[in-house]
Symmetry: C2
Subunit: 295 residues, 2 copies
DNA sequence: TAGATTATGCTCAACATGAGCATAAAGGTC
DNA sequence: GACCTTTATGCTCATGTTGAGCATAATCTA
């Protein structure tokens, strides 16, 4: 069985991060590596274009997963090589789902997300209490506090995968819960694919801090508030408006188009565009966004 | 053909970063994923222990590579899932090689390394001049300057892979040079494995900036200068001594053992140990080392 | 006793970051 | 038209971080 190539296609539409899915949201685009594929990435591009009609822009490899072996099962294992791809949504395309539909607790800009974390904290505290030893309980509590930013530790938006794995272990998601047991809100996916999505979210949240990838998700021209809302949507965290502008300005990665946004409510906002020419012409770092890492 | 698991084992010995190799330095430990392996990582551990007798400590996945397909060749492709493993050398173990034997230009703490970069700069300028169009020449020059930190741009120690790939394209390494053509100093490896090593070096250099992985490479107790030399060896860059100590101190990741180093030359240095208990007990970030990213 | 060598404490300027005050420019309401 | 709401934009201030270097301490060797 050849390794499978699997893609997490991300776009942001109406300030909501979206992921491209198949089969009613249960699957991600994927297909086996074939002999004719020039490279892993070209194989991935071919499969995604074939299955969704969507061409890929910025693509990067995420992680390679293997299924657990099955006793008495086939000798061969399913190996998945996963990729993150950034793009823009196009009108009328089907299959896009909000990524917070799968991970509602990851949206800390919304009051519902924050309330859900409070509820999760209580459930996980119960789970910690069910550890066999006192030391085990303490270790679990510490891990919960760290992963969900409790006890004043501060929410770390990059711990998407760690949070999902913790909820999996605590049997609070359908993938691991016993049949009929109560589970948290949030869509699940087939096989291990929700884990792949979590990996992609974590990687993207980490990456926007030090590479200008956010502009892969923006239209040609945009206002600073639109840019901020996009970053906030991806990071799942609100930001300080004036400081956001200050940092974006000093990066010198965007320039004014000279026009102002048409449909605005308050004072009209100037439109900006990304200076494509700085890619490559510039030190690769230098796009740090005002997303403070928590203490 | 099942995917292959391949390991880059790193240790630091006498302030030199070392990599564990087989076959006279031409190969890295590796073996195919088998049906009995519980996971990719356990498969890797089994292969490495079988081939080298060395048990693995901290392990993380690096990247998955695929061979280019061969026209008329077999239908199946070699897929390599690579891992970075950190450990300590043990007396009398064979097969350890200095990683700067493979990448002499990556050691910017040594005058030879800096001189080599000067020479490479000239060779790559020639190569840039051989681009077909004027725009192509300019693009090549810009890429060379950025990758090797010329024109006052500053050396970025994390661009190990980009530098190797540039030298590969310019046919300055044996892997790509025509037979008999002059090539740069530095050992090469079989197949694509020097690229895997470059990927590991880049990842480790990036990682020591924000995770306390450097302590995986240290003995139980060490002086601050020893720690600094280890970081410098890995990063290939010298550091400011007082500032290094200030940062390490404020991380609060190490504590005094109460003893002083026995074999010292000047004023005796206090010995420190890593506070293992902070792993997990602490925000996962917070080990930033005084390795400034260049401008 | 005078270097040589390494350890260690401390200061200073420049810059980055988090928070918030103040003002500007639009539309809508009375 | 006066006034409110809304968003945009400029600016300040305290605090923290970083890069550089001065100064002193504690050991050994010539």
């Amino acid at each position: 069985m050849p390794p499978e190539l699997i893609a997490v296609l991300i776009a942001v539409s109406d300030d909501r991060p979206m992921v491209l899915t198949l089969e009613g949201g249960r699957l991600l685009p994927s297909g086996p590596l074939e002999a004719g594929h020039r490279s892993l990435q070209t194989g991935l591009r071919l499969w995604v274009e074939h299955q969704t009609g969507h061409a890929l822009g910025h693509v990067e490899q995420l992680y390679t997963f293997a299924d657990a072996p099955v006793d008495g099962g086939p000798d061969e294992r399913r190996v998945m090589i996963s990729y993150l791809a950034l793009t823009r949504t196009r009108r009328g395309e089907r299959g896009w789902r909000g990524w917070y539909d799968y991970f509602p607790w990851e949206d800390q800009t919304a009051p519902e997300g924050r309330a859900l974390v409070q509820r999760i904290a209580r459930l996980l505290d119960d789970w910690a209490g069910r550890a066999p030893s006192a030391a085990g309980q303490e270790a679990r509590r510490q891990r919960v506090a760290l992963t969900f930013g409790l006890d004043g530790l501060g929410w770390d938006d990059e711990l998407v995968l760690q949070r999902y794995e913790l909820l999996w272990e605590a049997a609070l998601v359908p993938e691991s819960a016993p049949p009929g047991a109560p589970v948290l809100p949030g869509l699940s996916m087939a096989r291990d694919e929700r884990r792949v999505l979590a990996t992609a979210m974590a990687r993207l949240r980490a990456k926007i801090r030090y590479r200008p990838v956010i502009y892969e998700l923006m239209p040609d021209s945009f206002t600073l508030l639109h840019l901020q809302r996009t970053v906030e949507a991806v990071a799942g965290q609100p930001m300080h408006k004036q400081n956001f502008r200050r940092l974006v300005a000093q990066q010198d990665l965007i320039e004014e188009t000279g026009e102002v946004a048409p449909d605005t409510r308050g004072r009209p906002a100037r439109l900006f565009r990304f200076r494509r020419e700085v890619i490559g012409a510039r030190r690769i770092a230098g796009s740090k966004l005002p997303l403070a890492r928590p203490i």
